[in-house]
Symmetry: C3
Subunit: 346 residues, 3 copies
C-alpha cells in the first residue's frame, strides 16, 4: 500500500475553537506533542508540549496569566515560547525557547502550521465559511481514531463505500449503479455522483421532509493534505439544484501518530436552520454514520498492522479518487523535500 | 528452547463444526487470517480474510447467498475465491482471486489445509472417530490461549505435569512413582503409564462410580503437527482393560499467531452415555482442568517473552516425549522445505 | 538524556521484611526475575524465578518445607539453589543449580545483591537504623511504578519540584526563594535548604502542633545506587535544631525493568511516637504526596518513550544534584566494567 507522507508546510485543523480555553490541552500532530490554550485576550497559542528541562508534558502544568508553568520544576514560558522563569536562577539562556507553532482560529476551527513558520500564510487555510456563516447552521464533533489518517481520508475519496458501510442510514439500494465522475483540478480532486429519482435514505426523508424518491447530487472536493467538503443537495424528482435542500459535510482527518488520527467533522445546512430538533438529529445521526467509517478504518488498520508485508492492493475503477490523491500527495512531498533541501544549502 | 516450526502441508483443526454456520467467522492459522462460513448447501468454505482491494477484513462483511461481500466497497467473492463483482465496473481481472484453503468437515471438526492444495489428501486427517461414533458420547470446547502452540503441545507430551498442575482434580498423590514409557512409532509418539491399585482421583470416583482405589491405564498418542489422543481406562483393582470404563481425550492445539493458539478438546466416553449429568460434569470438570494447563502455558509464555535470550532448558528423563516430538517436527520441516524448494526449481 | 546505568555490585532494597513470608513472592531486579521466600527458620532466600527445566515461573509453585517445588513438573530446589528432586529420575546433574542471590534482612527491609556474590559485603548496606530503632516510629509502603528508576531518583535529587508538584500538601509558597546548597561528598550528594520563618505546610501544623510560621531544615543525602534520606526538621521560628521535631524520609527506588521500578519509602519520626493517629496521618498523607511524584514520573516516562530521539535536556542550576549523581553513577559503572573485564581476563 502506497503510504501517505507527512506534509509539513500545511495548516492542520486540530480542534474546534470551543475545545480550547483556559485549560492546557494536549494534541498530537505529525508525531509532535503540542499544548494548546487561549490567552486572557482569547488568542489561541500552540507550543511544544515537552518542557525543555526534563521532558515533562507541559499540559500537566498550569496557566499563570498567559504563561505556561511546568508542573514539575516551574520552568515558565510565554506565548512566544520564550522561557521567562527558571526557579532558583536569574539568568535565562537565550536558547531557552520552546518550539511554537503558527496557529490561527478560523471557521470555528483551530489551525496549526507544522512547517517553516515563514511560509505560514493564513490565506492557505481552506475556505470553510459554511462553518460560521449565519446563512448556514452547523453541528459537528471531534473524534480520535486508532488508525493512520490515510485510511479515513481514502474512505472519503471513494463514495462507493456508502452503499456497503452505511446501509440503512445514508445509503440507498443500487447507489452503485449511478456512475461516479472523478476529476483532478490542480491539487484538488472532485468526485461527483448525480442520482436522479432514487429511493431516499431515511436522513433525507426525516430532516428535509422529502418524499420516498428524490433527486440527489453529491459532489466531493478533496483538498490536500487532508480536507474534504461533501456538497449534498436533494429535492423531489425534478427539483432545480438551486431550490434543493443542501448540506455541506466538512471533514478534516489529521495525522496524530503513525497509527492514530483525529477526525473533525461538521455538517452545515441551509434548510430548517432554526429547528433545533434537526440540529440534534443530524448531530446524532451523522456521528453514528461516521462512527461506522471509524470502525471500518480501525479494522483495516488492525489487519494492515498485523501483516508483516501487506501485499499489493488490487485497485479498481472506483479508486480513481484514491490514486489521484496519492499521486498529488507524492508530488507535493517531493516538492516540499526539494524546497527544504534547497533551503538547507542556502 | 528449540522452537516448533510451522508445517504447512498439514490439516489443522480450527473449529467445531457447530461453530461455523451462516455467519462469517474469523480464525487465524499459522499467521494467516482466514474467514470461514457454510454455504447454503452446508459446505464449509475457508477463504483468506483479507479483501484484495484495500485489506479490509472480509468477516466484517456479509454473506450474499454463497458469496462473501466485502463490507467496505462490495468486492464479492464466490466460494472458490474468485471475485465475481467489483461495483462500478464490468471487467473483473482474471487474477482477482482470494486464496482459498482446502477444508474438510470430519469428526465434527473443521479441518483446514495450509499448504499446497494438490497435496490436501483427506486421508491424512487423523482418525478421531470417537468424536461422532454413536458408541461414544462426546463433550468439548474451543479455547483461545495467549501462548505459542508449542507450550500446550509439550504440556500434553509430558504426563508428569499431572501430579503438580492438577493436584486435586485428576491427579493422585505419588503418580510420579509410576514409570512412564515413551515409544516413537514413525512420526508418532506414544507415552504410557499404567498405574495399578492407586488412589482414585475425584473424577473417576464421581463419574465412573469406582471405589477409592483403582487400576488406571493412561496411553497418550501424539501425532504431528499438533494432535494428541489420551486413552484413559479405569476400573476396580484387577479389572481387565476390556471391562474398564474408558474415555478418550482428543486434543488439537493449533498455532494462530506466534504467541497465540487455539485449543480444541473433546472427551468421548463409552460409559453412562445417556446420563446427561455425566456429560455436564465432564464438560465442566475437564474444562476446569484444561484451563489449569492454559494458565500454566500463559505464565510460561510471559516468562519466555520477557527474556531477551531464553537460556537453554535443562531437559530431564520425563522429556523423552517432548524431545522426540521436537526431533520429528524438525525432520518433517526439513523434508517440507526440501520438497518446496524442489518444486520451485521445477 | 543521559541514562542511569545498571550497577550490579550493589545491594538493592526490594521489599519490606513484612512482605516476604511463607508464600513465594516474585520481584524483578535489573531485568532479572527473582523469587523470594522465608525459610521455616525465618531466613529470607532469593532465587532465580525461572525453573531450569522449561522456564516456568517458580513463584507459581509451592514451598515444601524450605524447598521450592516447581508448579509444572516438580523440579525442586533447596535454598542454595541446588536442584534436589527431578520427578522420575534418580540422578540429578551437578550443574542443576538455580542462580541464588545474596540476601540480607536489615532495617526491616530485604536487600538483594545483584553482582558478584564474593563481593556481597553486608557492611555496604546503607545505615537506615531509623527504620527499626525504638527511638523512632516508622510508617511506609512499597509501590510499583511504570517508569524507569532514574526518573523518581532524579525527582528526589531536586528539591525544587516540591513547590510545584506538592502544592497544597508539603509545599509552602515561595519555597523556591530559599537557596538550595548541593555538595558532593565522595559518592554521596548532599542537598540542603534551610528555610527560616516560612509559612508552615499543613503536614507540619497538623502532626507537629506547630504554628503557622516555622523554621524548617531539609537536608537530603543521596547514596548510590538509588537511596535517599531526607532529614526534615521543623520548629517555631528561633527553635534550635536539637529541639526540633524531626522525621527522616528513607527512599529506595530500584530498577525492576527498563521502564518499571519499585519504590520503598518510610517516614520515621522522633515526636509523638506513641500517638497512632499521627502514624495513620503520615502513612496516608505521605503516600498521597509520593503518589503525586509517581504520577509525574509516569507522565515523563510516557513522553520520553514516545519520542523517537529525545532531544537534549536544558539543565539548570537546580540540577546540580541530578548532574552530580549522573557523574558519580557513570564513574561507578566505568569502574565496575573495568573490574569485571579484569576478572574475565584472569
Amino acid at each position: 500500500m502506497k503510504s501517505w507522507p507527512y506534509l509539513y508546510n500545511q495548516w492542520y485543523a486540530t480542534a474546534w475553537g470551543s475545545e480550547i480555553g483556559r485549560e492546557l490541552t494536549r494534541r498530537d500532530l505529525l508525531d509532535e506533542p503540542i499544548v494548546l490554550y487561549r490567552t486572557q485576550g482569547g488568542v489561541v497559542t500552540a507550543l511544544s508540549d515537552r518542557c525543555l528541562h526534563h521532558h515533562y508534558p507541559l499540559h500537566r502544568g498550569c496557566l499563570v496569566g498567559d504563561h505556561v508553568e511546568c508542573g514539575y520544576h516551574g520552568f515558565t514560558y510565554d506565548p512566544s515560547g520564550r522561557c521567562v522563569r527558571i526557579p532558583g536562577q536569574d539568568h535565562i539562556p537565550e536558547k531557552a525557547r520552546l518550539r511554537t507553532y503558527p496557529v490561527v482560529e478560523k471557521w470555528k476551527w483551530i489551525w496549526v502550521w507544522m512547517g517553516d513558520p515563514e511560509k505560514a500564510d493564513e490565506a492557505l487555510i481552506p475556505n470553510f465559511f459554511w462553518l460560521d456563516d449565519p446563512a448556514w447552521e452547523a453541528v459537528g464533533s471531534s473524534i480520535q481514531l486508532q488508525a493512520r489518517h490515510q485510511l479515513l481520508n481514502e474512505n472519503l475519496l471513494d463514495l462507493s463505500h456508502v452503499e456497503f458501510v452505511h446501509r440503512g442510514s445514508i445509503s440507498s439500494s443500487n447507489l452503485s449503479e449511478h456512475p461516479i465522475e472523478t476529476k483532478v483540478e490542480g491539487q484538488k480532486v472532485r468526485i461527483s455522483r448525480i442520482m436522479k429519482n432514487i429511493e431516499a435514505a431515511p436522513l433525507f426523508v426525516k430532516t428535509m421532509g422529502l418524499p420516498d424518491r428524490i433527486d440527489r447530487w453529491q459532489v466531493e472536493e478533496f483538498q490536500p493534505p487532508c480536507y474534504h467538503v461533501v456538497h449534498v443537495s436533494a429535492g423531489s424528482p425534478g427539483t432545480r439544484l438551486d431550490d434543493s435542500c443542501q448540506y455541506k459535510v466538512i471533514n478534516a482527518i489529521v495525522p496524530e501518530r503513525p497509527n492514530r488520527s483525529r477526525y473533525l467533522w461538521s455538517v452545515s445546512r441551509n434548510y430548517r436552520r432554526e429547528e433545533k430538533w434537526v440540529s440534534d438529529y443530524l448531530q446524532e445521526a451523522v456521528q453514528r454514520v461516521f462512527m461506522e467509517d471509524v470502525a471500518v478504518c480501525e479494522a483495516q488498520e488492525a489487519m494492515i498492522s498485523s501483516l508483516p508485508n501487506p501485499p499489493t492492493e488490487m485497485l479498481a475503477k472506483m479508486d480513481t479518487g484514491v490514486t489521484s490523491a496519492r499521486r498529488i500527495l507524492a508530488e507535493m512531498k517531493l516538492a516540499e523535500s526539494q524546497e527544504t533541501s534547497g533551503q538547507s544549502h542556502a
